[in-house]
C-alpha cells in the first residue's frame, strides 16, 4: 500500500474536501456525539455501548467457565452461579446479540447502501440509542443490586412467585430496550421503503439490506409481545395481578407460549443480519456475483416468516399438548429449507471464485461452517424424541452457541473488519487479524464442541457442580474459552491501534461493489456529495477468470481516466461489457453508478 502520498495529493486537489469534511470531523465534543442525529455517528455510539455490554456478558461467561473447571462448586455458590448465567444471558441476548448488527452495521451501512442521506427518522434513531442505554443501565443496576436467578427466560411461576432476585427491575430494563429495538425496526423499514435512491429497485438492494429488512420485520412483529409478557410478570410481582399464577388456575405454559412467540423469532433477529454480512463478504472476496440472488432474498423473508410458526419446539417437555408438539416439530423442519438454500448459495458463490483470505473472509467462512453445525443440531432438537433425550442439557447450550456465537459473533467480526476501513478510514493490520480470526474459530470449536458430547452424556445445563466423569469435557471447554477470550480481546486491541497508526484505507480498499464503497472513507456527513444513481444490478464483480483488481491505489488513476468517457457510456445504456477488458469493465461499471463519477474527480 504505497498510496499514502498519492492520497494526500488527492486531498489537496479534491475541491470538495475543503467544505465537505467527513462525518467524524463534524464535531469533537462529547456533547456533539450525544446529540447527533447522523446515522453514522449513532452507529458509533451503538458500537461503543454494545462492545461494553459484550465484555460485561463475556466476563460473566468467563466466571461460568472458571466455575465449571472443577466438578465441585468452589468458585461460586449455587446462588451466585445462577445469577451469573442469568446476567450472561440477559446482557448477551438483549444488549448485544439482538441490537449489535442492526444498530451498528445496519445503522451505518443501510442508508449508504441504498444511497440515502440518512435514515428516515434520525431523531428516533438517537432516541432508540438512549432507550437502549437506559434499558441496559436498569438491567445492569439490577445485576449489581444482587442479580436475578431466573435465567434469561424468566419462566413463571418461578420468576413471579418464588424468585427473590431483582426480576422486576431487570424486566423493566428489557422492556425499555425492547422499545429501542422497535424504534430501530421502524426506522430501517421506512428507510428502505421511502429513501432508496434513483434506480435502486427492490431487487437491486444488497442482501445485507434485505437481511436488515427481514430482521426489522421480525423485531416489529415479535418484540411487542415480549414487552407485554414482561408487563404481565411485573404486574404479578409488584401488584399481585396473577395472570400466570397456578393457584388461581393460571397456566405457566401460557407464559411460555407468549415468551417464545417473541424469543424464537428473536433467534432469527440474531442470525439474519449475520447472514447478510456474510453474503457481502463472501461475494466480495470470491470476486463472484452471489449465486441465486433472488432465492437469497426469498430465503431471508422465508426464514423471517416461518420463524413465527415454530416457537413450540422450545416447549416439547413443558406439558404442551403432544399434538401441538408434533405440529411445531414439523413446522420447525421447514425453517431448514430456506436456511439450507442460503448455505448452498454461499457455497455456490465460492465455486470457481478467486478467493482471497482477508480476515473478514476467514470469519465469514467460519460463519458458514459453524452456522451449518448449529443449524443441523437444531434439526435434532426439532424432532420430539431426540429433544426429550437432550432437553435442557449442554447439547442445547452448544447448539444455540453455535448459532449465536459461532454464527452471529463471527459475522459481526467479519462485518466489522470488512467495513472498518469505511467506518474509520483506516486499514487494520491484516496478518494479526487473520490470526485472530483463526484463533476465534479454533477457540470456539474447542469451547463448544465438547458441550455437544457433554449434553449427549446427560450433563444438564444451569448446574454449578457436576459428577467428576464429566470433568474432562468441561476442562476442554474452559480451555477453549480462554483461547476465545484472547481472540475477542485481540481485535479490540489492533482495531483501536489502527485508529491512530493504521494505514489510510482509500475509498474502496477491497475493490468491492456497492454504493457504500463509492463515497469517501470515512463518508462525508450526508454520505454522498451527489445523490447516486444506480443503473446496474447488484454485486457487480468480475466475470469469471478475470484477474482480481489490484485495489484502491491504481483505481484512482483508472477512475480519472475513465470518468470522462464513461459519462457518455452511462447515457448510451452500455450493454456491451463483455467486449471490454475485465479490469476496465469493473471500473466502468463502478464509475457509471454515479452521475458524477467519483465525486466529480477529473472534471
Amino acid at each position: 500500500m504505497s498510496d499514502i502520498p498519492l492520497r494526500d495529493v488527492r486531498l489537496e486537489t479534491d475541491p470538495h474536501v475543503g467544505f465537505e469534511t467527513s462525518y467524524l470531523g463534524e464535531g469533537f465534543s462529547l456533547w456533539s456525539w450525544l446529540t447527533t442525529t447522523d446515522h453514522k455517528r449513532i452507529a458509533i455510539l451503538y458500537l461503543i455501548s454494545t462492545t461494553i455490554f459484550f465484555f460485561l456478558g463475556g466476563a460473566a461467561a468467563v466466571l461460568i467457565r472458571l466455575e465449571l473447571f472443577t466438578p465441585q462448586g468452589d468458585l461460586l455458590t449455587a446462588e451466585a452461579y445462577n445469577r451469573t448465567f442469568t446476567l450472561h444471558g440477559v446482557i448477551m441476548v438483549w444488549f448485544f446479540l439482538v441490537p449489535v448488527i442492526p444498530t451498528v452495521l445496519g445503522n451505518f451501512l443501510l442508508p449508504l447502501m441504498i444511497g440515502a442521506k440518512d435514515v428516515a427518522f434520525p431523531r428516533l434513531n438517537l432516541f432508540s440509542w438512549y432507550l437502549n442505554i437506559i434499558g441496559g443501565g436498569l438491567a445492569v443496576a439490577a445485576m449489581l443490586a444482587g442479580g436475578v436467578d431466573t435465567g434469561w427466560t424468566f419462566y413463571t411461576p418461578y420468576s413471579t412467585i418464588y424468585s427473590n432476585g431483582h426480576v422486576s427491575l431487570t424486566a423493566i430494563g428489557v422492556f425499555v430496550a425492547g422499545f429501542s429495538t422497535i424504534a430501530t425496526g421502524i426506522n430501517m423499514i421506512v428507510t428502505v421503503h421511502t429513501l432508496r435512491t434513483n434506480g435502486m429497485r427492490w431487487f437491486r438492494l444488497p442482501l445485507f439490506v434485505w437481511a436488515i429488512y427481514a430482521t426489522s420485520l421480525i423485531m416489529l412483529l415479535s418484540t411487542p409481545v415480549l414487552a407485554m409478557v414482561l408487563v404481565l410478570i411485573i404486574a404479578e410481582r409488584l401488584f399481585g395481578l396473577g395472570v400466570f399464577n397456578p393457584d388461581l388456575g393460571g397456566d405457566p405454559i401460557l407464559f411460555q407460549h407468549l415468551f417464545w412467540f417473541y424469543s424464537h423469532p428473536a433467534v432469527y433477529i440474531m442470525i439474519l443480519p449475520g447472514m447478510g454480512v456474510v453474503t457481502e463478504v463472501i461475494t466480495c472476496f470470491a470476486r463472484r456475483r452471489v449465486f441465486g440472488y433472488q432465492f437469497m432474498v426469498y430465503a431471508l423473508l422465508g426464514i423471517a416468516v416461518i420463524g413465527f410458526f415454530v416457537w413450540g419446539h422450545h416447549m416439547f417437555t413443558s406439558g404442551q399438548s403432544m399434538y401441538a408438539s408434533l405440529a411445531f416439530s414439523m413446522l420447525s423442519f421447514l425453517v431448514a429449507v430456506p436456511s439450507a438454500i442460503k448455505v448452498f448459495n454461499w457455497t455456490a458463490t465460492l465455486y470457481r471464485g478467486q478467493i482471497t483470505w482477508e480476515a473478514s473472509m476467514i470469519y465469514a467462512l467460519g460463519f458458514v461452517g459453524l452456522f451449518t453445525m448449529g443449524g443441523l443440531t437444531g434439526l435434532f432438537l426439532a424432532s420430539v424424541p431426540v429433544d426429550i433425550h437432550v432437553h435442557d442439557t449442554y447439547f442445547v447450550v452448544a447448539h444455540f452457541h453455535y448459532i449465536m456465537v459461532g454464527g452471529m459473533v463471527s459475522a459481526f467480526f467479519a462485518g466489522l473488519h470488512f467495513w472498518w476501513p469505511k467506518i474509520t478510514g483506516r486499514l487494520y493490520p491484516e496478518f494479526v487479524a487473520q490470526i485472530a480470526a483463526g484463533m476465534m474459530f479454533a477457540g470456539f470449536n474447542l469451547t463448544f464442541f465438547p458441550q455437544f458430547i457433554l449434553g449427549n452424556l446427560g450433563m444438564p445445563r444451569r448446574y454449578y457442580a457436576y459428577p467428576p466423569e464429566f470433568q474432562v469435557w468441561h476442562v476442554l471447554s474452559s480451555a477453549g474459552a480462554v483461547i476465545l477470550a484472547f481472540a475477542y480481546l485481540l481485535p479490540m486491541a489492533y482495531l483501536l491501534w489502527s485508529l491512530i497508526w493504521g494505514k489510510r484505507a482509500g475509498d474502496n480498499p477491497w475493490d468491492a461493489s456497492g454504493l457504500e464503497w463509492q463515497t469517501r472513507s470515512p463518508p462525508p456527513k450526508h454520505n454522498f456529495v451527489e445523490a447516486p444513481f444506480v443503473s446496474e444490478d447488484v454485486y457487480d464483480y468480475h466475470p469469471e477468470n478475470a484477474p482480481r483488481g489490484s485495489g484502491a491505489d491504481d483505481r484512482r488513476y483508472d477512475d480519472r481516466d475513465i470518468a470522462g468517457e464513461k459519462a457518455d457510456a452511462a447515457e448510451s445504456g452500455r450493454r456491451h461489457r463483455a467486449a471490454e477488458t475485465p479490469p476496465a469493465t469493473a471500473q466502468a461499471r463502478r464509475a457509471s453508478k454515479t452521475r458524477e463519477p467519483s465525486d466529480g474527480e477529473g472534471r
Partner: protein, 129 residues
C-alpha cells in the same frame, strides 16, 4: 372536500358558517359516527338477550365491523397505498398466528388431565403478593 374558499372565510369569521353548512361539510364523518353508535347500541342490547353460545360470536362480529368502519373511513385505510395496507394487515396476520398456534395447544390437550380439576383442589389459598 368542496371548492369554496374555506380558508379565508373560516379563519376570519367562522361563525358566519351556518349549522347546515357544517353538517354538509362533515356529512361523511357524521354518518360513520352514527353507524358506530348504532352498532354499539346493537351489541349492548344483544348482550342482554338470551343467545347462549352465540354471545361471543355476535359481540366479536360487531366489534370487528366497528373496527373495520373506523379503519376504513376514519383512518382512511380505504384510500391508502398497498404498502400501508400491508403494514396494517401484518400486525393482524401475525396476531392470528399467535392466537391459532396457542389455541392449537390448548384445544388438543388430552382429556383426563383436567387442569381445572387439579387446580380446584389447591385453589383455595389466595396468592401471596
Amino acid at each position: 372536500m368542496s371548492a369554496r374558499p374555506h380558508k379565508a372565510a373560516s379563519a376570519a369569521e367562522p361563525r358566519e358558517k351556518t349549522l347546515r353548512a357544517w353538517l354538509r361539510e362533515f356529512r361523511a364523518e357524521l354518518i360513520v359516527w352514527l353507524a358506530l353508535m348504532l352498532l354499539a347500541a346493537a351489541t349492548f342490547v344483544l348482550a342482554y338477550l338470551p343467545l347462549g353460545p352465540f354471545h361471543p360470536l355476535t359481540s366479536m362480529g360487531i366489534a370487528v365491523a366497528k373496527a373495520l368502519v373506523v379503519a376504513l373511513f376514519f383512518m382512511h385505510l380505504k384510500r391508502e397505498s398497498a404498502t400501508i395496507r400491508l403494514a396494517a394487515a401484518a400486525g393482524l396476520v401475525f396476531l392470528g398466528v399467535l392466537f391459532t398456534l396457542t389455541l392449537a395447544d390448548y384445544l388438543s390437550r388430552p382429556p383426563g388431565v383436567e387442569l381445572d380439576a387439579v387446580r380446584a383442589t389447591r385453589a383455595q389459598t389466595p396468592q401471596q403478593p
